[in-house]
Symmetry: C2
Subunit: 260 residues, 2 copies
């Protein structure tokens, strides 16, 4: 494996560039500046046509959306993930804004070059199709949570999924500040506090960022999680969360010190 391939393989968009020929990688790498971006910097504003596909090399990106006074977190991205692929592929405006949480290192791939390579590199195009399918499924799951579950059920589902990811029996550590969790789950911070209080009858007790789940089965039943539908796919997103989603790793990236 050459230096260029290693670079992509180790740091950037593992799934997106997996198996892509050396010529394409080299072309991309030479044309794509790498930038270290400070905390709380807006990288993309919704409604703007994108000139770059951005790759997270280090740190965390929050994708969020706004309408009037309302603002919500759509997704959190980590190393190896790209944003916003669908808008770049279809040469359309961004439907989400992106900002850095903590110091972040990004690679900016020119959108025109990326679309040009999609025409000539079959493997890159295949990776893009699989990645878009995975992204679509991620948003569908998010939409299912929003439309099918009450605020309390959404919190229960979030805790059960964290528990599955972290693999520690009967206890999870919250990887994000509570304001950000509330935004991701589509509720006000005050509603999140109420939801945590309501879930006490299902064995949920909180000590700072440590949450004890004393009655896991009851919590799962309450959350109405479907074993196959609600489990996450083995996508790059998921791989990132398994590897980097622990509180320690996110703390290192500065996300826990970040006020939303």
């Amino acid at each position: 494996m050459t230096t260029v391939a290693k670079e992509f393989d180790a740091e950037a968009a593992v799934g997106l560039f997996s198996g892509v020929c050396e010529g394409s990688l080299s072309h991309l790498y030479r044309s794509s500046p790498i930038e270290i971006v400070p905390d709380d910097t807006i990288i993309i504003s919704e409604g703007v046509r994108l000139r770059h596909l951005h790759i997270v090399r280090r740190g965390v990106i929050e994708l969020f959306a706004q309408a009037g006074e309302s603002r919500t977190t759509i997704s959190l991205l980590g190393p190896g993930e790209s944003f916003i692929l669908a808008a770049v592929v279809n040469n359309a405006v961004a439907l989400m804004s992106a900002r850095t949480l903590g110091g972040t290192e990004l690679m900016h791939i020119p959108a025109n070059l990326f679309r040009k390579l999609l025409k000539s590199d079959q493997q890159l195009l295949r990776n893009v199709a699989c990645s878009l399918a995975g992204n679509f499924r991620g948003v569908v799951r998010h939409l299912r949570d929003q439309k099918l579950r009450s605020t309390n059920q959404r919190l229960a589902a979030y805790l059960v999924r964290l528990h599955q990811q972290q693999g520690a029996r009967g206890v999870v550590r919250l990887p994000l500040r509570k304001n950000l969790i509330a935004s991701l789950l589509g509720m006000q911070p005050s509603s999140l506090s109420r939801a945590f209080a309501d879930l006490q009858v299902l064995g949920v007790t909180v000590e700072q960022d440590r949450v004890n789940l004393a009655k896991l089965e009851e919590l799962e039943t309450f959350a109405c999680l479907h074993q196959r539908v609600d489990a996450t796919d083995a996508t790059p997103v998921n791989r990132y969360r398994k590897v980097d989603g622990s509180p320690e790793r996110l703390e290192k990236k500065g996300i826990r010190d970040h006020e939303i």
Copy 2:
């Protein structure tokens, strides 16, 4: 254009098969049974791995999701649209169920064959990537509506978009029964009735399926629609809605006679 190409071009998945070589189309067509399916038939159940990519040739498909007692409409599909592409491309379980609304004609493309052709037919793969990107953006818009807008704002946004699609000044016709509109907008039918009543101060009055919008600008402002973000892309979904979304066309397909 040969008969096979014409068949695909006229009825089925226009975007997905646009420009695809005759050999692939012919192979697909020979291997894909066409079926006329009665009203209210479940075609796909969420959680099941798909053996076919389904194409709507005539009629309407409702994609919906369930968790416990809760049920919600995710999308309505018409002629030229496929379901569920992302699950077929990634060989994963369906995250949504699908059922017919009214009599529907479907083409069932074997999923294995479709994935095999994706490896050999660059144009098909390119169409799939564009289609998945469009589908992703559609779900993001739906999620934005759910997380950023109140029930009243969601109804206002729905009416403003219908108005843009139907192009009749100050009046729209509801293309669906109110129970289905409520489910699509993520609310109970009783909440939809309240929302219609609340919007009277913004000039909204209803006579059966005809809705007068006397103060369109105020309604737009209230809905907090972003001109570029909230306008729909020119995708097959959109093409369908423009052509077939009028009450008359849906009535012909039986959707207005259908009790949800």
